[in-house]
């Protein structure tokens, strides 16, 4: 028996949804195994079972041939299973060594721990200063804290959940080197992602999940990305169609925009300048936490700046609030759906009113026309295929993808002349993502100027005409997408943050 971990016929059902149904797969020591699937395909539930966060209803798991049923993550860690989560669990106000110590059962004295961190970080080409405050680290560096925390436990199996969503292409390369080194030393890696090129570059085997079932296994190097995508989605994909729209006059111009971040440990914007014409999409890339949220706030009007720093159709509006900018034709969709773009406990009707009141004329002398508001909500639901029992459902009862369709739909349905969207397809399945991108392109063809902020480079390259990147609050000059190489994009995003020295020896 050579398998490190065997999963046999595992099923897990939640009320109303079967997350995993009769899932089986195996990993041998040193293997890099990809778990591939769309959002909601059951990848997270599966790894949570392996990590002891969720218990399977039926089926069994074997680790080194012995039954393995961890009751809690502590038991999983004791058995040699470690996990790096997509969302970090770090305290920003503590330093690296303190954060690592908090995740350990019996942390050694700080001094010793710091030297251990240094040793491991050098060994695996992940430079990290144990004394630095986590709040000052980039997303890539924060991920290194999590990885080193796992490596200090000397794991036999390392689970990584969507590790590259916060990295620049150069940082991804460095991470892959580290993972390959671990694999050559016999550590098995379970790698969860929906990014197909990465999986082709890194993984030995792949298990593809769709709606909770294993639909295929393959050797990624032998398949094309398109073949795997179609296995994952279970349908033939059609990329969004672009209509070459005539570029019009400049609709949104930002000149020397500098604002301090209203968010603790946020990134201030420094001298950001760009212009977007009608019928044009500007894609703004960047690793999370480099000023994306702040840029959206400054464009939507939630954060004010100098009057002429932001201009809509040549009219200075940097000092105006969100509603005045909506009157000028600018709509925006923030990244965080619950609590920012939508009020969780309010109905979809009330949430339609939230940003639609001005441009849809839903109030008269301040009195709300609930009939028109409900009709507006119903239109969004119909046109953007939002799956909900009705308009009077609370926003928090919708799944993430459905709420995202509602929020984006609400903004796009207001006949805007300028559209600003942060992470338009975050957490949305492939079909819905394609629909949202198509809707954005349709509005662009209709003469809107669009700014899309996204961490998904493929998405930006697909829909954007011009490309710029945010790096520590600064925006690179926009460049036409046509002819950009992935290396150039990586450098625009800041290269590998302070990591050029890594992997000298390897």
């Amino acid at each position: 028996m050579t398998d490190l971990l065997r999963v046999e016929g595992v099923t897990k059902a939640y009320p109303g949804v079967v997350a995993n149904s009769d899932v089986s797969f195996a990993i041998s020591p040193g293997e890099i195994h990809a778990l591939l699937g769309e959002n909601g395909a059951g990848k997270s539930t599966l790894v949570k079972m392996i990590y002891g966060l969720v218990r399977p209803d039926t089926g069994r798991m074997l680790l080194n041939g012995a039954p393995y049923h961890p009751a809690e993550p502590r038991a999983a860690r004791a058995a040699g299973v470690a996990m790096v989560f997509q969302h970090f669990s770090l305290f920003e106000a503590l330093n690296v060594a303190e954060n690592v110590a908090l995740g350990m059962e019996n942390p050694p004295p700080m001094k010793e721990l710091a030297s251990q961190i240094r040793k491991v970080s050098e060994e695996y080409g992940l430079p990290l200063d144990p004394a630095r405050m986590v709040g000052d680290l980039s997303a890539g560096e924060r991920q290194r804290v999590e990885i080193i925390r796992c490596l200090l436990q000397d794991p036999k199996l390392l689970i990584m959940d969507e590790p590259t969503s916060v990295l620049t292409p150069q940082e991804v390369e460095i991470l892959f080197k580290t993972l390959r080194q671990l694999s050559s030393e016999g550590t098995a890696i379970l790698y969860i992602s929906h990014k197909l090129e990465e999986i082709r570059a890194l993984c030995d085997e792949a298990t593809i999940l769709r709606r909770g079932r294993v639909v295929a296994t393959c050797t990624p190097r032998e398949r094309t990305a398109r073949e795997m995508a179609e296995l994952m989605v279970g349908a033939v994909l059609t990329p969004p169609a672009r209509v070459g729209a005539a570029k019009g006059a400049i609709a949104l111009e930002v000149r020397g925009l500098s604002v301090p971040s209203p968010i603790p440990f946020g990134t201030s914007l420094k001298d950001v300048s760009f212009a977007v014409r009608r019928g044009e999409v500007l894609g703004i890339a960047g690793v999370a936490g480099n000023g994306q949220d702040e840029l959206l706030l400054a464009l939507s009007g939630e954060v004010r700046a100098a009057q002429d720093a932001v201009q809509i159709d040549g009219k200075g509006c940097g000092d105006l609030g969100p509603n005045e900018r909506r009157r000028l034709g600018l709509v925006s969709a923030p990244e965080e759906r619950l609590g920012h773009a939508a009020a969780p406990d309010m109905s979809l009707v009330e949430n339609a009113l939230l940003s639609g009141a001005i441009r849809k004329g839903l109030t008269r002398n301040g009195f709300i026309d609930w009939g028109a508001t409900e009709a507006f909500a119903a239109t969004i639901i119909k046109e953007f295929d939002v799956r909900t029992p009705g308009t009077h459902v609370a926003a928090r009862a919708l799944s993430g993808g459905n709420l995202q369709k509602f929020v984006v739909g609400r903004e796009l349905s207001q006949t805007p002349s300028v559209i600003v969207i942060n992470q338009p397809t975050w957490g949305v399945d492939a079909a819905a993502a394609a629909a949202i991108r198509q809707a954005i392109l349709d509005r662009t063809a209709g003469g809107a100027a669009v700014v899309v902020i996204s961490q998904d480079l493929d998405e930006l390259l697909e829909i954007a005409d011009n490309f710029a990147a945010l790096n520590e609050g600064r925006l690179t000059p926009p460049r036409p997408v046509a002819g950009l190489t992935i290396d150039e994009i990586g450098l625009m995003m800041g290269g590998a943050h302070g990591m050029e020295v890594a992997h000298h020896g390897s």
Binding site: K48, E302, P334, H340, A343, D345, I358, G366, I368
Partner: protein, 362 residues
């Protein structure tokens, strides 16, 4: 094992039922307490809830008291509920009530003994302004210096109480009062009086103002964009900013409305039921109104009913003290139980109780 599970949407059934359940539980727990004090619990409960309205001997006195007591409670609670919904915690309505009374009485006393039709309307405006101005202190301190409005508004209650004491023995003391503390009796000065409008009902202008406030607040919250913004700011502050709500303006508006309504309540009280400024003029309406606001779950109609219920326990409580010899502290504990049980059963609206073992943490 019992455990709580968050409902995807709040339950309409429990939203309507929890106040009734809370009153029932209060009666049971209160009855046990009265029994422990050696009183007949059934008699005590009947004395508190039934006798004030239907007792053949006392009802003629206590029935009008219901509106007299409920009026200011409802008026103040309506104002507070707007702020509470927006997450703005004005705890100092008692102080704003006193300042409204002082301002209103001050205007009335300044005209004494002239008789003009416009004196009472001027007093109404002055009362509202007095409460409004007192509430503006915590509002401006919060918006300019980010101070905590809970502390500032609460501490200003004690300042207002000292102002009241100083006024009733100083500037506003009745020159013909033989040196006793307290102002002239406004209810005996026709141009400044707030009389009982329909004999035997307790209905005065303050009660009418309270009913109007209920209707206005209901329309504001259901139909007007400002009401929507108030709810939004309380539920999801970041979404409120996205929706273009100006947090500073909202604080100033909510504090201003609650202060003005508390001031009005004080002004109607001093010119009507109380009649004069005196050292012990305030009897805690401003604090009880906080309970009323929550008992009515910050809903105007709910507050109307809660105000009447709270007034009933006050009158019934007094009746029970004097008929059955129950200690005043027992009545206060009884009122406290009401709020306690309401908040305790309130979570049934948002959570459901599941019996069984916990399965997992996800």
């Amino acid at each position: 094992m019992l455990r709580l599970e968050k409902r995807p949407s709040p339950s309409g059934f429990w939203q309507a039922t929890t106040p009734i359940l809370a009153v029932a539980l209060t009666m049971i727990a209160g009855g046990l307490m009265f029994a422990a004090l050696g009183k007949n619990p059934f008699e005590a409960i009947r004395t508190i809830f039934w006798d004030p309205l239907f007792h053949e001997q006392f009802a003629s006195y206590s029935r009008p008291q219901l509106l007299v007591k409920a009026g200011p409670l409802i008026l103040i609670a309506i104002g507070l509920s707007l702020g509470f919904r927006a997450g703005i915690w004005n705890i100092g309505a008692e102080g704003q009530y006193i300042m409204g009374a002082l301002a209103g009485a001050g205007v009335g006393l300044a005209f004494y003994p002239a008789q003009h039709w416009y004196i009472f309307p001027l007093m109404v405006i002055a009362g509202a302004l007095g409460g409004w101005a007192w509430a503006m202190i915590p509002a401006i301190l919060r918006t300019k210096f980010n101070t905590n409005e809970i502390l500032v508004s609460l501490l200003l209650v004690y300042v207002a109480q000292n102002m009241l004491a100083s006024m009733s023995i100083g500037m506003m003391r009745n020159p013909e009062g033989g040196g006793f503390p307290g102002s002239r009796n406004l209810s005996q000065y026709p141009s400044a009086a707030n009389p009982e409008l329909i004999a035997g009902t307790g209905m005065h202008w303050g009660v009418i103002a309270a009913f109007m406030a209920v209707i206005a607040a209901y329309i504001l919250l259901q139909r007007h964009i400002l009401g929507f913004q108030i709810k939004l700011a309380g539920q999801a502050p970041r979404a409120a900013r996205f929706a273009g709500v100006n947090p500073t303006a909202l604080v100033v508006m909510c504090m201003g409305i609650s202060g003005a309504l508390a001031g009005l309540a004080g002004m109607f009280e001093v010119s009507g039921p109380a009649g004069q400024i005196s050292i012990d003029f305030n009897v805690g309406y401003g604090f009880t109104a906080i309970i009323v606001a929550f008992l009515g779950r910050l809903n105007p109609i709910g507050i109307l009913l809660a105000g009447l219920l709270m007034a009933l326990t006050y009158i019934g409580g007094e009746l029970a003290q004097f008929m059955l010899g129950l200690p005043a502290a027992a009545i206060q504990a009884f009122q406290g139980m009401l709020l306690f049980f309401l908040l305790a059963v309130d979570l049934l609206t948002n959570y459901r109780v599941r019996i069984g073992t916990r399965k997992e943490a996800i």
